[in-house]
Amino acid sequence: MFEKTLTDLIRGIRTNKKNEQKYIAACLQEIRQEVRSNDPDVKAVAISKLTYVCSLQMLGYDMSWASFHVVEVMSSAKFLQKRTGYLAATQSFRQDTDVLMLTTNLLKKDLASGNHLEVGVALNGLAHIVTPDLARDLCQDLVSMLNHSRPYVRKKVVLVLYKLFLKFPEALRLSFPRLKEKLEDPDPSVVCAVVNVICELARKNPKNYLSLAPQLFHILNTSSNNWMLIKIIKLFGALTPLEPRLAKKLLPPITQHIQQTHAMSLLYECIHTVITGGMLNLGGNSDSLAAMCVNKLRTFLEDTDQNLKYVGLLALAKILPTHPRLVSEHRDIILRCIDDPDISIRLRALDLVVGMVNKRNCTDIVKRLMAHLLPSSNSDPTANYSPPSTLLEPAYRADIINRIIYICSQNSYSNITNFEWYIAVLVDLTYVSGVKVGEMLAQQIMDVGVRVKSARQYCVKIMQRLISDKNLLENCKLSDSNAEVLYAAAWISGEYCSFLENPVETIEFLIQPGVTKLSHNVQAVYVHAVLKIYAYWANSLVYNWDDDAKQELIQITAKLKDKVGMFSSCTDLEVQERAYNIREIFSIIHQDLINEENNLKEGNDYSSQKAPAIIAELPPLFFFYELNPVAPKAQKKVPIPEGLDLDAWINEPLPESENNESEEEEESYGYGYGQTFGGSGDLIFSNGNGATVGRRRVRKNGRKNGYESEDNEELREKVYVTIYSVLFGN
């Protein structure tokens, strides 16, 4: 029979690009037949074809139906087939593949084979397919193989043991002594493998490997294999936090490497370990060591190789918390990295910059960050990069905005010298952000507006710009709209309306028709702000009261009374309630004004020179006290007045027996109503006439407050009467 070889298959797929799926489906049919053949060669070829198709061609096509055949091929005596079988196994077996049970004996046989190549293939396969069961079964065999005559096998066994430890942690305890011995193995690649494994293990549990430090130190000093040196130094980086004396001993060899090596990867590893392993905290000449590291990192940043820049920035970010001055000497080059077209470098530089901000460079840094949010304008030909697509990515933009706000609001705004500038920045962000950050911006604006008195006037002025912006309203439903910022705008305008240049105009903006599209919490603030500004403005008219003023007042009040109606049809209860409330207020004022007008017309001797008294009642509602921010722990600082003992009984506790009776009554009646109020058991129920009767429940544990005194009997009587009347209808 003519069967396709692997090469034929691959060539066939490449030439049949147009009907690839059909061709592959046909091949799969053939493979299904071939795999069941008795000829081991045919089977092996079929499995290798299947491996190709499933792992590389078709993502998601499952070859688990062939698992048994894979095991058959794996157990073949011929090396070529065995290898193919193992490859198929590593590519297709999952942790829960059922045929894995069959492989235990097969693996044992292969591991014990005299042919080291077979052993090697088996070990490779095991490293991929090991499960906890397999690990338990094969642990002993593997540990004894640590003394195999061939270093090739020993090295592989060491690495496979690591995988075993991950699945079957017991194995580590049992085999650790033997593993330690291998550090003294004559073959360097075995030693390298052991070092790799210990490095991985030490990261999770450094304490257990401190005892190996002397041996490792010896290897560090004698080896010239850079690969191994990197791993050893990394290992020590995990151990030194536990043992400061170790750090002292390590300093000379590591410093030597830093100064002499040509290999960038080794140099980077040394610097990285010095920083993260706490070797800079040793005192004495640690400053010079830190300076040396930072200088080397600067050479990384100046190199044209982008990778060196990246790792340089990464390491500088790690050394920043402990040696900020050293790092800020190189501020210029770091700031230049923010503008790099490569996003990885930019992210690292941003991290670094955020940690370096202080009063003097805050404005500059924020300006640079905001320049990132703006699309590159054609009018700037000197811009040496076109922003890559990632600049427009919402996550990246949100990240930048978060960072800007973080920088500025850090430490209660300690980095900001000019709050007006900050408010302007926040408003600019509203327009250019491109992502939905309105809530955060609103919170910031309000925070600054409340805390910084001197900036309030400017703040109010800028808020007018936001409130009057029609575009913001129109686009408020879009996903990247920042209309939430109007929450802050309305609240600030309402609270500090004394700074408003034209209160009537502001009120007009607050009641324009598009406002009902805003979210409900913003609308609620709008409604309240309308009333506040009106109160202030009307009150200001009182001081120059004349006919014109009166007419204007009547006009505006009438208008407001009507317009506010649009808020009352909002589905949110808070907005509705506020809208109704202020509509009533406006109605009352309007009625008052009209009555006065009419009185005047009818010629009553009614003085029209004074404003209606009701106008003067409004401001005290809002402007009596200034709303100041309160610290979270402020309540605790209020001293308890003299003679007040919060733990004393307010009234004499009642004798126990009477309590139980009354509570039984409650429970038997009040089941439907009382229980809905939950734990404390307040009973409130209606007696059917629209009035409600309430009674506070007597608490079982004896703590009572309220009216449990001589009035108690009377009250209870009243309640019983009500109960009976409701139950039995009089």
Binding site: T51, R83, T84, L159, S344, L347
Partner: protein
């Protein structure tokens, strides 16, 4: 340690995939598709390190193939780049001036070379010559097998 290694072509077709840690099938597909799109969109002058969630991804382009390795956050990036380079060197020596077609038609051999260089996500053999020697001995044994089979068939 290295978590995964794969090779894909300029057009996004996978040529080799090796997972050194357990990932579910779904994770594997998302990872491969995400990384292929992101890496293909990067320019030549950019650095070879990508940050991808909990891993860092190191990639390097050799002619028409991208070699991608995923590592933990605390692994040395430059070391990984060297390791990838070592793998490419080995492929070159083994196939003799390797090109993409070699890897396509001999994908299993590419896996075998990888198996000799890495195991369990760690570098197995730092010595290039030793690796070549091992691979060649594998090949010789296989050739021997094929020869014996052909002889047997001709006798039949």
């Amino acid at each position: 340690m290295i978590l995964y290694l794969f090779i894909f072509s300029r057009h996004g077709k996978m040529r080799l995939k090796k997972w050194f840690q357990y990932f579910t099938d779904k994770e594997k597909t998302t990872l491969t598709t995400d990384l292929t799109t992101v890496i293909l969109s990067r320019k030549r002058s950019m650095c070879n390190v990508l940050e991808y969630g909990e891993h860092k991804v190191i990639y390097k382009r050799y002619a028409s193939l991208y070699f991608v390795a995923g590592i933990d956050w605390n692994e040395n990036e430059l070391y990984t780049l060297e390791v990838i380079h070592r793998y490419v060197q080995l492929l070159d020596e083994f196939f003799g001036n390797v090109c993409e077609l070699d890897i396509i038609y001999n994908f299993d051999k590419a896996y075998y070379v990888l198996d000799e260089l890495f195991m369990a996500g760690e570098l197995q053999e730092p010595n290039k010559k030793a690796v070549i020697r091992h691979i060649n001995s594998f090949e010789q044994t296989c050739q021997l097998d094929i020869l014996t089979r052909n002889l047997e068939e001709s006798i039949k």
